[in-house]
């Protein structure tokens, strides 16, 4: 008989090893999925994980894409990790990402076509504020009325998508755009452009912000009292109350921080890779970032690595759909599978697997 025995303390070895085991198991399960789809599993996995970085023909194009995709994922996931560690579940990062982009772009476009070096920083601040304000809605409702933040933040994603649609076809539409939906192109207007900073790497301001966020989160979690309070609230809420942690303040700080970072990610995306506010501006970074946060064990360095890996599956997925005609949805299922395996393997962190009969307690 197999049974589980609770460990006195979480295993450090398994805590670090479980993401790796999960990735490995996902590769096997993914290979089986591709085989069922009638593709050569080895070729498919090589196309997804190897070719984007090392293929002689495609790598030069797809390698910079790695940072372009990883930037927003890491930025959002770092923000989410604050709340998730404290047991505050912001799953509406997609909405905050959209609102950051809309508010930032609106501020920029209000100043069009003037040229000033101050416009871009102003837009960055506006983007962060947009995401922050959108996250404050579930935050304030939770603090004031005890409303479930999971449901409210998620509902606000659909609201934000509708605001995005009305912005793209209405009040932010490019007046010189011959009637096509979508705003002016922000990446082509020098004052608002978020260009590649180092040629050939794909690193734009959003990637820089992601790196800064990783360092910031690392310092907060290891050195600052806020990080301690967040961890304490997540692991021992009762102890946190005795230690004088204000739970309401923590809700607002965690949600606000994740909203602001998601808003920043949206702003850097709309001024850089996306270029404009369009109907299909959001591509699900806010949801994938949830996987990134968990895969990275809610740890800043882990999130950095997980973000890069998840970005690789995006690019590799595009390559695989282009070269092997593997449908894009397969990659989405693949990413979901990864999270499942991770959550399953995680049992080893908190429990010891025992074989044989249970002893008398």
């Amino acid at each position: 008989m197999i049974w589980l025995e609770k460990r006195p303390a979480p295993s450090r070895t398994w805590s670090a090893a479980s993401p790796i085991v999960a990735v490995f198991l996902t590769l096997i399960a993914g290979g089986i999925m591709f085989a069922i789809l009638g593709k050569n599993p080895f070729e498919a996995l090589r196309t997804i994980f190897w070719d984007p970085l090392f293929h002689e023909q495609f790598a030069s194009f797809s390698r910079p894409q790695l940072l372009v995709k990883a930037g927003p994922l890491i930025l959002i996931a770092i923000g989410l990790s604050f709340g998730f560690r404290a047991g505050i579940w912001n799953i509406g990062a997609e909405g905050q990402y959209i609102m950051g982009a809309i508010v930032g772009a609106a501020v920029g476009l209000a100043l069009y076509p003037s040229e000033s070096v101050l416009i871009f920083p102003l837009m960055v601040v506006a983007g962060a504020l947009g995401g922050w304000a959108w996250a404050m809605i579930p935050g304030l409702l939770k603090v004031r009325f005890g409303t479930n933040e999971i449901l409210v933040s998620l509902m606000l994603v659909y609201v934000a998508e509708n605001i995005l649609a009305s912005a793209a076809v209405g009040w932010l539409k490019n007046p010189d755009g011959a009637g096509f939906p979508g705003s002016r192109n922000l990446s082509q207007w020098e004052a608002s452009a978020n260009p590649e900073l180092i040629a050939g790497t794909g690193a734009h301001w959003g990637v820089m912000a992601a790196v800064i966020a990783v360092v910031f989160a690392y310092v907060v979690f290891t050195k600052h009292i806020l990080g301690f309070h967040i961890r304490l609230s997540g692991e021992a809420p009762r102890a946190a109350r005795f230690a004088g942690v204000n739970p309401n303040l923590l809700v607002l700080v965690c949600l606000g921080l994740s909203g602001a970072l998601a808003g920043l990610a949206g702003l850097f995306e709309v001024t850089g890779p996306a270029g404009q506010i369009g109907i299909d501006f959001n591509v699900g970074y806010g949801f994938t970032a949830i996987i990134v946060a968990f895969l990275g064990r809610l740890h800043p360095i882990g999130i950095l690595l997980a973000g890069l890996l998840m970005a690789l599956t995006y690019i590799g997925g595009e390559l695989a759909s282009f070269m092997l005609s593997i449908p894009g949805a397969a990659i989405q299922a693949f990413q979901g599978m990864l999270l499942f395996f991770l959550l399953g393997v995680d049992v080893a962190t908190h429990y010891r697997v025992r074989f044989g009969r249970k002893g008398v307690a």
Binding site: L4, K6, L37, W89, I91, L141, F145, G146, T147, N148, I150, L151, V152, L154, M155, L156, Y158, V159, N162, I163, A165, S166, G170, F287, I290, I291, F294, P327, A329, A330, I331, Q332, A333, F334, Q335, G336, M337, L339, F340, L343, G344, D346, V347, H350, Y351, K358, A361
Partner: protein, 310 residues
């Protein structure tokens, strides 16, 4: 705007059709939460039901078979959640989210070859003289069988929870798994059965979307219905009867905003299409504002993992 162009009789009739998917998903989730499990994967199970039901219905040409397949598909996916949360003690919130993300991806993959096909019809139920009643006949008695099945399920769940021994055990497991365990009930088994029932109901709800309401398959077609179902469970304060009220209220809002769009209301389309979500938030706030009552009604062990130490 021309309000008179809206046929209020037909609007009330289509309200029941619009409400049925969320009604089914919500009553399933109610049973799950009553057993003390918070499954946030309703959206994923619904969309799996939608695609499974659609594929089987198209392949066999039979809508009823499609519904059976949808329930099986939803229940099967929910067992993934069940194994992870009950045996491997994973975090229920995270696992539920994973279920939704995975379900959306897998359903899109499965439904690839079925985009743009029309589902086989399910046919209206002939209720004889009842259907011919003026006004009431149009509103209540001219629907397909699933509308009545969904109401029957709600009544059955209500009776099960209130009057049967099984219902009492299920509620005991949700209120205090340690006490139920000490009394000799198998907490994990009860919870697994509840999760499977919830998955099956969510699957039926999804299939109602793809087979009756729309009726065709598109990626991500549930568009948040599963999340609204979760909100309705909170709105209903975990009481089966109020699930009907909640679901029909939201069905009504959905139908009304669609009718207003069609009637060319002066309100922007985007405002109308975001209204169901906004109203969900407002309702959640109103319900949770009465803190004492909200906390009193929720099952005490909701969302907690159970591990029998000996």
């Amino acid at each position: 705007m021309d309000l008179s162009s809206i046929n209020w009789l037909l609007l009330l009739a289509s309200l029941m059709v619009a409400a049925t998917p969320i009604l089914l998903a919500a009553i399933g989730e109610l049973v799950v939460e009553k057993a003390g499990v918070l499954n946030l994967g309703v959206e994923g199970m619904m969309i799996m039901g939608a695609v499974c039901g659609f594929i089987i219905a198209v392949e066999t040409g039979s809508a009823p078979l499609g519904f059976v397949a949808a329930a099986a598909g939803g229940a099967l996916l929910s067992m993934l959640f069940g194994v992870l949360t009950q045996f491997l003690m994973s975090n229920q919130v995270a696992t539920g989210l994973a279920l939704t993300l995975f379900g959306l991806g897998l359903s899109a993959l499965m439904g690839q070859g079925y985009i743009g096909i029309k589902a086989p019809g399910i046919g209206k139920l002939d209720l004889g003289p009842l259907s011919d009643l003026p006004v009431l006949g149009t509103i209540l008695f001219r629907h397909d069988a699933m509308v009545y099945v969904s109401i029957a399920i709600v009544i059955a769940v209500w009776a099960f929870l209130k009057f049967t021994r099984g219902g009492l055990i299920l509620r005991a497991v949700g209120e205090s798994h340690d006490a139920a365990h000490a009394l000799g009930y198998n907490v994990i088994r009860v919870r697994l059965m509840a999760i499977a029932f919830g998955g099956g109901c969510a699957g039926l709800g999804g299939a109602y979307l793809s087979l009756v309401r729309v009726p065709s398959w598109t990626e991500g077609m549930t568009a948040g219905a599963g999340w609204i179902a979760l909100a309705i469970v909170v709105f209903a304060s975990w009481k089966a009867g109020r699930i009907i009220v909640g679901a029909y209220l939201f069905g009504g809002i959905t139908v009304l905003q669609l009718n207003l769009q069609a009637a060319g209301a002066k309100i922007p389309v985007e405002v109308l299409s975001m209204s169901p979500y906004l109203i969900t938030i407002i309702v959640l706030v109103v319900i949770s504002a009465d803190r004492k009552r909200a906390a009193h009604n929720a099952p005490a062990d909701l969302g907690k993992s159970f591990h029998a130490s000996h």
